[in-house]
Amino acid sequence: MTPHLLSMRDLTADDITQILDTAAGLKDIALRPIKKVPTLRGRTVCNLFYEDSTRTRISFELAEKRLSADVINFSAKGSSVSKGESLKDTALTLQAMGVDAIVIRHSASGAPQQLTRWVDAKVINAGDGWHQHPTQALLDLFTVRERLGRLAGLRVAVVGDIFHSRVARSVVQGFTTMGAEVTLVAPPTLLPPGIERIADGPGLVTTTSDVDAVLPKTDVLYLLRVQRERMATQFFPSSREFARLWGIDRERLDKLPEGALVMHPGPMNRGVEVTADVADAPNAVITEQVTNGIAVRMSCLYLLLGGEDARDADDAATTAAETPPVAAAAGRGAEREGLR
């Protein structure tokens, strides 16, 4: 594992497998009457959110609390940021207060990486600009692996606003690292130059603007949010035209092979990239993605923060003992590989 979780590009296939295996063990905690383990007791995690977020912030907060971490929430609107304090000064303040990990969401690409220069805490990227959103990609990989039993060799189509999407960049790198093939589908205005070269995994990345040709050869259809305000900057003429040419409706859904999954990172623009009946179709796993997000974020926090000393190893063992065999194996695997 890497010292921080900044980008999917930093993770090897082994790293990803370790995170997903660990998450599989931790997922069952949610099924217990008391949804909490003591793994991160005494550790402090700060959720530093400079950009609006509902699901990611709540998901991280639940993950942290289920691991018994002390949680501080810091959002730009209710902090000294609104009084003009810089990211660096905020970072130095958190450093002085001795937090163990910072989960950061920021509208500026690279802000999490910059943060690592100013703090000793572990930094987890919860989304930066158009750059990366690694825990989103990990929870997507988790969801697909759980549903389809594998990742290698799958055919993934990502449709929508690739240009402005940190999710697209993260998902492309995650799937190709695991050996899946990814096709990016959008009008050329929303396909940034060189997007097919952002991944160096074994899986191929291709681009096209013809969604109908791609659908019959797709195992995972991944839809991205299309922001209406992009129209003002001439990426496409209208949301109606976008919906007609690239939106997924019932008719297009039927072109998918039997058993193909439909995914969306949310929030959805029903009626633009996806119609309501597609979002609620049986092969749409959009709410499962949300559920799995908590376990995957628990796994990331545990692997970054836990396992540094015997106490943590004991906690992990306690966790493992209380959970089914899969999780126990994951816990042992995690110990063996000397988590950082």
């Binding site: 990211l87 660096k88 509208s107 910059q114 130059p193």
Partner: protein, 442 residues
């Protein structure tokens, strides 16, 4: 009158085509002799290069308005430390240098600090707004030879055409910051952040396409050619721009061009760090662009090496990439970067390098007394440097008020030993001399 001799210097003087060993005698403010004689104090400079003091066509001294980033005193100190005897500060100060009063203020403050001659560039348009022409005539009367809205492009082709035409009154030079603002999104909150391409896509930063520079340069070359005016293209950063200028020169367009040390030595790869010290406009480009800029310097398409010295205080640069301002320091590293990146690898000879750093910029702007020749009777504006000495760039040791050098931590060849302005040492043995003005005729 003080008399001294640089004994055994390697005299590199592009204006006379000379690169040879000689003694140079300075008497008072002028060069008295180049040859084998000695007079006055003898300064042994065996192995050191003695060249005309460097001339920078593109400097931001920030005063008036942003004295937290740089002052004329600190900027000219940095210039002297870098071997410069003349710099041309750009007009994008606050207030804008768009009338004679500001030109005179800048010139007077520079004379008071006395470490480097300063030739202010005037604005093309009032307030850099791109609409009404600034009073070029009044600025010409106080010595302005070149006009530029640098930092901002003159967007209107109509205004640009009129500016080129009007400047012909004095055969003055128009220097347009080449950026097609619609393509780079200058007015949008998702405006360009780095070179457009694979890496920008990977890093999720808005791209600054090469075409945005080339479209503007092509437009300006056509307009300058049509009206027979003099155009200077600043900070050439793309292979396409080099080719456009090459073709225009072949066609007889009256154009000169400059490249910065960072554009011929660094690539966009530096942006991977997300350290805004590497954020600059135009942005660091690809390896192919760097190669083309070097080739442009080799074949003379690009006349001058200019720094685009752009100081910003640390609190401005220590921000999120998208919020940090564009710009890099350059005055104190330009000579060493040129020697390290161009002269030592054999891209340019020492004579060609000094021509690009001193002689050609001085000639192109009509700055007399600078850029050589090193001959009896000429003003003693000189730089003495050790081309073999290495040093590590330490931002804290720079004389600029700011610290935003992209070369921090690099080991470079070429160390300035002394800088001489009209016979007086502004830098001696690597140290800035105390109070430059009062040290006269020690």
């Amino acid at each position: 009158m003080t008399t001294y001799t640089f004994a055994g210097a390697r005299v590199v003087d592009p204006a006379s085509g000379r690169d040879e060993r000689a003694n140079v005698i300075v008497e008072g403010s002028t060069i008295a002799h180049v040859g084998s004689e000695t007079a006055g104090a003898r300064i042994e400079v065996e192995g050191l290069v003695l060249a005309p003091g460097l001339v920078d066509l593109h400097t931001h001294l920030r005063e008036p308005g942003r004295e937290d980033a740089e002052t004329i005193a600190s900027g000219t100190a940095a210039a002297a430390a870098g071997g410069y005897t003349a710099v041309c500060p750009m007009a994008n100060t606050d207030p804008v240098c768009d009338h004679a009063g500001i030109v005179e203020q800048v010139t007077r403050l520079a004379a008071e600090s006395g470490r480097c001659d300063v030739y202010p560039v005037g604005a093309i348009t009032r307030g850099l707004a791109g609409r009404e022409l600034a009073e070029m005539g009044s600025m010409t009367r106080v010595g302005v030879r070149c006009f530029s809205d640098d930092g901002l492009p003159v967007r209107s082709a109509y205004v640009m055409r009129r500016a080129l035409e009007y400047a012909r009154t004095w055969d003055a030079i128009i220097c347009n910051h080449a950026e097609e603002a619609e393509l780079t999104g200058l007015d949008r909150d998702d405006g360009a952040q780095m070179n457009e391409g694979d890496l920008a896509t990977l890093l999720g930063l808005a791209g600054w396409p090469s075409e945005a520079e080339e479209i503007m340069v092509a437009r300006d070359l056509l307009l300058a050619h049509a009206v027979g005016a003099r155009l200077h293209v600043p900070h050439v950063s793309t292979a396409g721009t080099v080719e456009l200028i090459r073709q225009a020169k072949a066609r007889g367009t009256r154009v000169t061009a400059e490249a910065t040390p960072h554009h011929f030595s660094l690539t966009e790869d530096e942006v991977r760090s997300f350290d805004p010290v590497f954020k600059v406009n135009p942005p660091l480009r690809s390896k192919e662009d760097v190669e083309a800029v070097r080739q442009g310097l080799v074949d003379g398409t690009i006349d001058a090496i200019a720094t685009d010295h752009a100081p910003h205080p640390p609190e401005q640069k220590d921000q999120e990439w998208a919020q940090a301002p564009f710009g890099m320091l350059g005055l104190e590293t330009a000579l060493a970067v040129t020697i390290t990146e161009l002269v030592r690898p054999g891209v340019l000879t020492m004579l060609e390098a000094i021509a690009a750093l001193s002689t050609k910029p001085a000639r192109s702007r009509g700055i007399s007394g600078h850029g050589g020749p090193i001959v009896p009777g000429a003003p003693a504006n000189l730089v003495l440097f050790d081309p073999e000495a290495t040093w590590e760039v330490d931002p804290a040791a720079l004389h600029s008020r700011s610290r935003n050098t992209p070369f921090a931590g690099r080991r470079l060849y070429g160390r300035v030993v002394s800088t001489i302005l009209r016979g007086r040492f502004t830098v001696r043995d690597g140290q800035l001399t105390g109070d430059a003005c009062e040290e006269d005729d020690e």
